[in-house]
């Protein structure tokens, strides 16, 4: 027996051929890595999207870096990232704990909580546009003056409306992640805590929160890096307006490239987006210490 397993070990050592990974690698290189290199290259060119691409040195970068709209887009992106994290993280953590318990009514609520996951961003944005309409929306229809404001037309309010709609759409997904995390906490920990007389709040802070460390890192990383991709929702909901008040970096990139036909400047904005995304992912991994994704990164 020992001889045969030894022999099989030796055969297994070879493992399957690397060619099995080739098709995936091919697609990924062609449509993700090549474009990634392409966005660097195009940021040093001049191109209107139709004609010839001409090398143009640093002029796109000069345009982008001196344009106050770029700074504004960065600020709007940072604000939305910050506020949507502050709003989403606690709500989805608490809802994850809430839905992970075994009561029947909580399971039923969870089924309904996850429905927004099914809607496209375009659908969510269109629904909220109708709902928030200052003339025909929910507020004026019900006769509630507070709700009847011009939510999307007021540049002081619109950012928070966007944060709210983002939370509405994405909290369900993070609730799901936390629910799974909580369910992996051994029940024996809670039993021991109960014997020690710990109350619910104490149990939450002493067991649930520390045990969810990796889940918190995963969810936060997805939340923060994901907030660089809130394009379609904001595009349909506000188009970046009023003025520039919700013009996020990805939206600014799209509008610069495909509406103002300045693909060079848009590519420079794309590079900025890539750099910010990578930096954020690295910082979050560091903050979390040795997390499981990091160990996967090294182990595999």
């Amino acid at each position: 027996m020992s001889i045969s397993t030894g022999a099989s070990r030796r055969v297994l050592e070879k493992g399957p051929s690397g060619w099995l990974a080739a098709p995936a690698l091919f697609f990924f290189l062609l449509f993700a890595i090549v474009p990634l290199a392409g966005v660097f290259f195009l940021s040093f060119t001049k191109w209107d999207g139709l004609g010839e691409i001409k090398l143009d040195g640093f002029s796109s970068w000069t345009t982008v870096l001196t344009d106050p709209v770029t700074g504004n887009a960065l600020l709007v992106t940072a604000k939305i990232m910050f506020f949507s994290f502050i709003v989403q993280a606690p709500i989805s953590l608490l809802l994850g704990v809430f839905t992970s318990a075994s009561q029947k009514y909580r399971a039923v609520l969870a089924v309904l909580y996850f429905v927004p996951l099914l809607l496209s961003s375009a659908a969510v944005a269109i629904a909220y546009k109708a709902l928030l309409d200052p003339n025909f929306g929910l507020g004026p229809g019900l006769g509630i003056p507070f709700l009847a404001q011009d939510w999307l037309g007021n540049s002081d309010l619109v950012l928070f409306v966007v944060v709210f709609v983002i939370a509405w759409q994405f909290v369900p997904f993070h609730t799901l992640i936390y629910q799974g995390g909580v369910r992996q906490i051994p029940a024996s920990l809670y039993e021991a805590a109960q014997i020690d007389g710990a109350g619910r709040v104490q149990q939450f802070f002493a067991i649930t929160l520390p045990q969810l460390k990796y889940t918190i890192i995963t969810s936060s990383t997805l939340m923060v890096v994901g907030s660089l991709a809130y394009f379609d929702l904001v595009f349909v909901l506000t188009g970046g307006g009023p003025g520039y008040s919700t013009r996020l970096l990805p939206l600014h990139m799209y509008l610069t490239g495909f509406k103002a036909n300045d693909m060079g400047a848009a590519s420079a904005l794309g590079v900025i987006l890539v750099v910010i995304g990578l930096a954020l992912a690295l910082i979050l991994q560091r903050l979390g210490g040795k997390n499981r994704n990091a160990s996967q990164l090294e182990g595999a």
Partner: protein, 300 residues
């Protein structure tokens, strides 16, 4: 440590036996009903449900009813005219386009990701290690930053305004997360099973289909559903890579309906309902698979 074989068991069942005795035997901590938590849970339900309810109810009103009635009251004379109007405006064609793009992206993405995950987990070569690292890097990069080079490549390949233009980058963008989740599950397949099949003279190729695939089927289904959601609801690629109505997909059609019907808000909202309906049906049928799979995939 949820292993692959445990996955189909709904997590609630696993939690139950350990919690129930604890509730009976011990302490105020768990047995006291959590009023605050319950209140928060119902409050969030209201936040989730009100917009959905509003969309459905409004889509059943005629235009006059929409302007005059209470927005939260069901219509006095429900009508399906709005749905008829949407269906008459080529909705079926957009639906078929979405279906073609989704199936055309998800099936190849699953196939190549599965083969890559199998090779990465079972293989030992340095090439596979680097491939895996590259895919993990793809998770940290906001890939949407590369839309301009992708637009350039698609136009150069004369694929602009075709469904294939949407399919090819969608496959590539689905690969990193698919490989990550599939390889996480693949690692849980006991090595002994592979060894015994090897002793029976199985090739790596045969083991992939006859052992690895059946053992990771829940993960394959999960990844399939997750990617299908992403592609079905995708907005950015259709926006920049297609133009004519004959290649329009559903999320984009919602946006154009909004322009065409403009003030006919009930019809716009009917299109939102129609576009979400197929996913809702899938959710009702395969909810457990979707939820437990996503949970296990992300909180591992």
């Amino acid at each position: 440590m949820a292993s692959t074989t445990q996955l189909p068991v709904p997590p609630a069942v696993r939690v139950d036996p350990s919690r129930k005795p604890a509730q009976r035997s011990k302490g105020p901590g768990r047995s006291r009903p959590n009023f605050l938590g319950g209140l928060g849970g119902w409050l969030w339900l209201a936040i989730i449900i009100v917009p959905i309810y509003y969309v459905v109810v409004t889509s059943l009103k005629n235009q006059a009813g929409f302007f005059t009635s209470n927005p939260m009251m069901p219509p006095s004379e429900p009508t399906l005219d709005n749905y008829k109007l949407v269906l008459e405006n080529d909705f079926a064609m957009y639906f078929v386009n979405s279906l073609l793009v989704t199936v055309g992206s998800v099936v190849p993405a699953l196939l190549v990701s599965f083969m890559a995950a199998y090779a990465i987990v079972r293989g030992k070569t340095r090439f596979l290690g680097w491939t895996n690292r590259l895919f993990l890097l793809g998770l940290a990069i906001p890939l949407h930053a590369t839309i301009i080079p992708i637009y350039w490549m698609i136009t150069k390949a004369h694929l602009y305004d075709t469904l294939l233009a949407l399919i090819l980058p969608s496959i590539a963008f689905a690969i990193p997360i698919s490989v990550l989740i599939l390889s996480n599950f693949m690692r849980d397949v006991p090595n002994e099973l592979f060894e015994s099949m090897r002793l029976d003279g199985c090739s790596d190729w045969a083991m992939m289909w006859r052992l690895a695939l059946p053992m990771t089927r829940p993960a394959v289904v999960t990844v399939g559903i997750y990617n299908a959601l992403g592609v079905w609801n995708g907005f950015l690629f259709p926006l920049i890579l297609t133009q004519s109505p004959s290649t329009r997909v559903l999320p984009l059609s919602l946006w154009t309906f909004q322009g065409e019907f403009s003030v006919n808000i009930p019809a716009v909202l009917a299109s939102v309902v129609l576009a979400t309906l197929p996913l809702l049906v899938i959710y009702v049928v395969a909810r457990r698979q979707l939820i437990s799979g996503l949970t296990a995939g992300f909180s591992k």
